[in-house]
Symmetry: C2
Subunit: 836 residues, 2 copies
């Protein structure tokens, strides 16, 4: 498959979809009784949404509404909610009829009350939260808990059954939806996109996801653009362009738009539901056609249908409040009657509003939901709130992993061979893909090959469903494959999140600097994981794994704009229970690390490993031991005397720092053979932290055993140096810790000059040792000056020749020299015209 | 203007554009002599681009190309470059003819060599870099310096004359372009959008910028979508959809597309230029029509023209290399002949390629550019590389600022009055806008009112140029105004950057959590500022000012997903010389801080100030003094004895922490009247840092004077607590520093419970004091237990009543009580139905 460009589906799951179990067609016009149930269901959901926002008590309005029934702090968002409820009600009807597995992604996640109400109405809520019973007391609790201390969030959240999408931060609904659809051939994902959300960048590009989905082997995403016209305080852009422009935009995005305009006030109750049910059936039948065509073998991209639902913001709410238009305006966004508790006229409006839903028709005397309206609910797992796809841990299967030791790089002596670590990882991933053809994917912004994972193309392709032009340009591309590449970090992250949240595995490979593009998405995912750790019915999902292999130190083609190691700093701000950071120093440690990451659950694993040829230092056995400990002393590199404290500790975290520390150790052992140098390497950055701060943290005693309590530690770190201080400031030896790292001193230069610019180079590390070990500064002034001179000479050479001094560029660990002389060095060096 | 919704232009610059000086029409068909010059100019730019990527010497190929003429490390990106040069050449011709002030925004910023070549060809380069002379030696230097140690970056960068856009990180070309166009009625911004870049989220939404620009009072952006078909290793999405879909997409975005397909190999040299020149003239004439119509008073949104340029990637380069299609494929992305130095066949291809541009026709015997081809260059400031708009500091005018003291809140005693600080700032900004009607704008994602700046609507509106529906829903909106709101942080940031880079002023107000959405954009802007500080011909620009007023501690409507104070951590990773962080504790300090920010240059100023009603502590005179010092002892709040060291220091940074620290100080003075407590408040966070690390840093002596060298310091901080440790780990007293801050412990709760969850509350601060002041733990076990009980009682109350205990919520500084009794309290409290 390494060179195929034929657009047939290859590399995907086995083709067992010849006789579709899903994707049935509708059974014709919806009868009035069903429409009446939909209408009633919608009314019930709206009533319960208003109840959640406003009511502390009196949930069924059995007595006149009083001030004390109203919550003292009114929080939440009404505006988007009734539209969400409308869609949910109609989808319920269609799902029940077609028995179509469906999940619901709520782009406007602030419509939380609607999704909670819907989950209650289909019975799921009381199943997962048994104290929220299906009676008046349950309703009282349900209303009260909403956005209340100790209760549930006001947004659609991990606490909401049926959700894989927080929605508090807008923009990722479609990316999440497509992530859920990949490799779920029988799943329909109804993705509501808010028209506010639609203005965000990530959402604006995520429409193009339809060029990356396979109509046979993946599920179908049905985008529903909910045009309610207003944001917090402004109209929305898409609601204020002409119908022609909006339709053109959707066609341009590759969709067939079906526009539905809610009748606002001039349409009777059933007519609007009849119209929408018919439209939904038309759309779902179109989707069934697409699926049937694909099952017959035509996997080319269709124009997928999508729905535009134009309805008033705050639909069914008070038309005006205090003489100002409310429904159908931005004033309905949040809590339209914010002073309902303290203003009797507003309290009356609230009561009238609640009564307009005729709760007596919706609940029986005990507060139990009316049986008739329940009849549109699907049953069991077909309920959108109960669909196991939305609680992916339920479906998660362990990856069938090869033994990573089989991909070990031969290391006859430390530094005796050279590898591009991610390229070796790529070989391992090739086998991972071979063994897991339908639940593992690699995501990246056009960089899988640049990041050296191209071995995977031996067994799979990049999935692509836009046009193909021919084998001479479309390498490793086909209509189905395990690699997803679009030049949008937002898309990659969102797709992967959706894929993980529905119970699958994957990794995201990106440039280190530009992973900051998804800082905010990472935040939300980490928060999701943190919260779900404490929700018993949520089952653990696979970790989100990053591979950052185009890192800060080697942006040879790009320079300063591409240098930023700060994602690690960003990540470690999140809860220790969900974040892990690894800096494997060579290929074997990368293999061991990644094996661990792919087995883990509920973490975000950040792995930084450069893609340039670099020495291998540890045999596989050593690598496994080193990674298991997370950090350790490299005795072979130091000059300590067993049983004695070293004079100085040289620490490193990261591949480039490790190389420079070893080169410094080499200089020191030659120049100061009596100096007792300990070399420490850190793979698992969280080991540096206090055990009280992070589950991986070392105890102070362990820390002192490795770093000593009082000897100078010269530490070379991959990223911003102060992170090491932040992680270790409580340690005994912290005042002796001297960290070198990246300090925004990048420019256009060569690799060695780059480390020199940031004082991370071997010469400067030796200078640091001389400056910090007592007595050396005076006694070794000559050596110190030679180090200064060596740096100047190195820089002068790069300025003149455009490349580093060969003896610096090609330096090898001295013990490796012998092996090298025997022809071992560079045995696995790969060069050539790979793009960077 | 506070309630106008009429769509006429108001609130903008004076209407002095009745007789347009710019926007002339073209003079008809372009003659062959001119076309020949364009062709030659293009050839010269391409030749020089290839030269920069490959050549160390022999720039004019006066002798056969040898191995040593080729750079040892070949870096850069060829693929996009010839297309950029093509556009530049044609724009030059049109600009010269129409005398139209124009800047060029290079979305595919990796095409750096092209823009450097163009700036050299129009003479600018040698003007700003006098060592790059217009002769063979100058060419040699120009070629050599490209992506070479000590030389220039491979991307379009601050070093590139004519650029306001780095382009290393893709996605912001159109946002920057529109930012440049605002309030520049005579400026044409030619914005090249790469088709790779077009896949990013920010770019995908930035097309909608045309709904926010005013055709009369703003300039015109001409987007040019450069469809060269490939990214690093993949085709691009927009190049692989049907022509119909692409055209629909552009129409949907509100543009009139003009598609140009380069003739590839089957078109003679002049014909393609004739076709493109005609198309460009047609487009520019359409723009002239739009401008004329707008000048006559029709400011409604036109369908702005845009160009689709479909051309082969690596256009004019080697068709094949080693039998593989190169030009017209992703293989042309970077350096197509990466082994030119070491492979004689490749060296020959390189030489042939260079010679194909016939350099002897392009340069005279001395290496001077041919006079004939120069003739298409515009002159002086009309050269795109020399346009002062692209070096905005040249045009920057100081803001005419009102005296911020005029907006002072009355503070008869500390805490005696209450304000919403940003609302007070809004009053000040109202006057700023009044006095600076054409060079100051406020940007925000639909949150200007939510963030309490709505006073500005007394003098201006939100600028909007999509449809209007009527005064009952379209409040404070018109076709021209000083406030720019779109629900995209990327757009707000990009617009503001473009506006600042072209010499204007502004601020960006956003939710604290979601400002992380632009982490990466902030990075690039901070890097830009850092680099331009060291480029003599770049003049300083106004600072980029953030106002984060919906902050982590008060996400009452939203909860956990909206809590993240980490932007500060992100910001302080950047060069100290360009970043400033302010945490004003009340309204008067916010006024003083912002006055400072608006006067500053070349910084990124991050100001965090909550929007909820909160006490005022400092009179304006005190506030000015406090802000000038950046931090200081609040003697009135402490109980120290003059001349004696305190027993404990209570420190605070941030408004909520300040309140809790004062409440703790209040408890301590009542409960432990003999304890000598010092209260310190920090406004300028960078003061905590070492003077060697940051220009605002305190010396160790100053630091010790305030925080003492050995007394316990209990510090309440707005954000993640470890940042304070990171800033102070070198300080003498660091081991005695105990920091409380946000630790991802948010949930759905009340404001006081929120601070309790994170141990930042007054009771816990008192517990910290008891635990850390020697002897207190033993002697004050009773008080400690009362604090623990008080916390439990507070939490119990919130769980039961849904709001905080009134005595906690309404606590006032005791000295304020007297004033309050006299009716002063809450004099400036604002409440009501503002959206959050």
């Amino acid at each position: 498959m390494s060179t195929t460009t034929a657009p047939q589906g290859t590399g995907g799951p086995p083709a067992d979809v010849d006789a579709p179990r899903a994707w049935r067609r509708g059974s014709g016009e919806v009868d009035d009784a069903t429409l009446r149930r939909i209408e009633k269901w919608w009314r019930a959901a709206n009533f319960m949404s208003v109840g959640q926002i406003y009511l502390l008590d009196n949930p069924l309005l059995r007595r006149p509404l009083s001030r004390d029934d109203v919550k003292p702090r009114l929080l939440g968002h009404w505006g988007t909610t009734p539209g969400l409820n409308f869609l949910y009600a109609h989808l319920n009807r269609a799902i029940a009829e077609r028995q179509q597995s469906t999940i619901y992604v709520t782009g406007p996640g602030h419509g939380g009350p609607g999704l909670v109400a819907s989950a209650y109405l289909d019975g799921t809520y009381s199943e997962v939260y048994s104290d929220i019973t299906e009676d008046e007391e349950g309703l009282r609790r349900l209303f009260r808990q909403f956005s209340f201390p100790g209760g549930i969030p006001s947004h659609v959240a991990p606490e909401t059954p049926g959700s894989i999408h927080e929605g508090g931060e807008l923009g990722y609904a479609l990316s999440h939806a497509y992530g859920a659809a990949f490799d779920n051939p029988d799943l329909l994902v109804a993705a509501v996109v808010g028209d506010g959300e639609a203005e965000t960048g990530p959402l604006a590009t995520s429409w193009h996801s339809n060029k990356f989905v396979n109509p046979r082997q993946d599920g179908i995403v049905l985008p529903i653009l909910h045009l309610n016209g207003y944001k917090i305080a402004n109209p929305t852009v898409l609601a204020r362009i002409s119908d022609d422009e909006l339709e053109a935009l959707m066609v341009g995005y590759g969709h067939k738009p079906h526009v539905f305009v809610a009748g606002f006030d001039d349409e009777d109750d059933l007519s609007i539901h009849r119209r929408f049910a018919a439209l939904l059936d038309e759309v779902l039948d179109e989707i069934a056609d697409i699926k049937e065509r694909a099952a017959r073998g035509d996997e080319s991209r269709p124009m997928y249908p999508m729905i535009v639902l134009r309805s008033p913001k705050g639909w069914t709410g008070p038309a005006e409040i205090d003489g100002k238009k409310t429904t159908g305006s931005w004033r309905a966004h949040q809590v339209p009657l914010a002073s309902a508790r303290d203003t009797p006229e507003h309290l009356a409006v609230l009561e009238e509003w609640l009564q307009s839903y005729r709760p007596a028709e919706l609940f029986d005397a005990t507060g139990r939901i009316d049986d008739d309206l329940r009849r549109i609910n699907p049953v069991g797992d077909l309920r959108m709130s109960a669909n196991p796809q939305a609680n992916g841990g339920l479906l998660l299967k362990d990856l069938r992993l090869p033994d990573f030791r089989d991909f070990a790089q031969d290391v006859p002596a430390p530094g005796a061979t050279i590898s591009e670590a991610p390229r070796v990882l790529g070989q391992y991933l090739t086998e991972v893909i071979r063994r897991n053809p339908d639940n593992f994917r690699i995501f990246g912004p056009d960089e899988t090959a640049s990041n050296r994972l191209q071995a995977v193309y031996e067994v799979t392709d990049k999935q692509w469903n836009a046009d193909f032009l021919g084998a001479d340009v479309d390498e490793h591309m086909s209509r189905a494959g395990r690699v997803m590449e679009m030049l949008s970090e937002h898309q990659c992250q969102g797709w992967l999140e959706g894929y993980l949240l529905t119970g699958r595995h994957g990794l995201f490979t990106s440039y280190e600097a530009f992973i900051h593009i998804v800082d905010s998405m990472f935040n939300q995912h980490a928060k999701w994981l943190k919260v779900t750790n404490h929700i018993p019915w949520r089952r653990p999902i696979a970790s989100l794994n990053y591979l950052l292999s185009s890192h800060v130190w080697r942006q040879d083609h790009n320079g300063f704009s591409h240098q930023d190691p700060g994602f690690i700093d960003h990540v470690v701000n999140k809860k220790a229970e969900v974040v892990r950071v690894y800096l494997p120093p060579d290929a074997n440690t990368l293999l061991s690390t990644y094996d661990h990451c792919l087995r883990s659950r509920q973490y975000v694993n950040v792995v930084v490993s450069g893609k340039q040829p670099a020495p291998n230092f540890l045999t596989m056995d050593q690598a496994v031991a080193h990674c298991t400990r997370g950090l350790g002393i490299w005795e072979w590199a130091g000059t300590e005397v067993p049983g004695e404290e070293p004079d100085v500790v040289l620490g490193a975290a990261g591949d480039v720092p490790t190389l420079e520390v070893l080169a410094a150790a080499d200089i020191l052992r030659r120049e100061l053979p009596d100096l007792k140098v300990r070399v420490v390497n850190v793979v698992d950055l969280m080991r540096l932290q206090d055990e009280r701060e992070h589950p991986h943290g070392l105890s102070d005693r362990e820390f002192d055993t490795i770093f000593t309590a009082d000897r100078p530690v010269v530490f070379a770190y991959h990223g911003y140096p102060w992170l090491i201080h932040r992680l270790t400031y409580r340690r005994n030896g912290h005042k002796n810790l001297h960290v070198r790292g990246y300090k925004e001193e990048g420019t256009t230069t060569t690799p060695f000059d780059m480390v020199m610019l940031n004082d991370l180079d071997r010469f400067h590390l030796v200078i640091d040792v001389i400056d910090h070990v007592k007595g050396l500064r005076a006694s070794q002034a000559g050596l110190r000056q030679r180090m200064v001179d060596a740096r100047l000479a190195a820089r002068q050479h790069t300025r003149e020749h455009g490349e580093d001094l060969p003896e610096l560029r090609d330096w090898v660990w001295p013990d490796a020299g012998d092996a090298a002389a025997e022809g071992e060095i560079a045995a696995t060096v790969f060069t050539g015209g790979d793009n960077e």
